[in-house]
Symmetry: C2
Subunit: 84 residues, 2 copies
């Protein structure tokens, strides 16, 4: 793995784990007022498209990162709809 | 452009524009209580890493999508710090 592949690898990890504190915050507080509903609708569809694209490319990092992010995003979306 | 390239193209557009409604919401309301500070710190670093990776690959879609997302993410982070 070269220098730039490591950068790409960390990029995927960081943009995936970034959603965990938001998931935890929403889970703990049930508070979603300042979170944008539109953002999480569009984002979830986009991440689903990345997942399909990754499956086509047979790219494990793209599939794995986007599968995890899709779960985080749909959970935040679910909480936003439930606790308006 | 084949079917799956179009899927990938839409994936990049959707996950980029997804942040626009959050940017607009935060700009209008100055309200950031339920937004996670940690999420936007980690996400901004991750997107910066994607940008560096995209520059290395000379991939215009990766560079463009992540440059725009970095601006959105840093703006939301800035507003979160300013309006706690």
């Amino acid at each position: 793995m070269n220098y730039f592949e490591i950068i790409g690898f960390f990029a995927a990890i960081l943009t995936t784990v970034a959603f965990f504190p938001q998931v935890i915050k929403v889970y703990k507080t049930k508070e979603t007022k300042s979170i944008s509903l539109s953002m999480y609708i569009v984002f979830s569809i986009g991440v689903l498209f990345w997942l399909i694209y990754g499956l086509h490319l047979k790219s494990l990092p793209i599939v794995l990162a986007n599968a995890i992010t899709l779960i985080s995003s749909i959970y935040i979306l679910h909480m936003k709809i439930k606790h308006k």
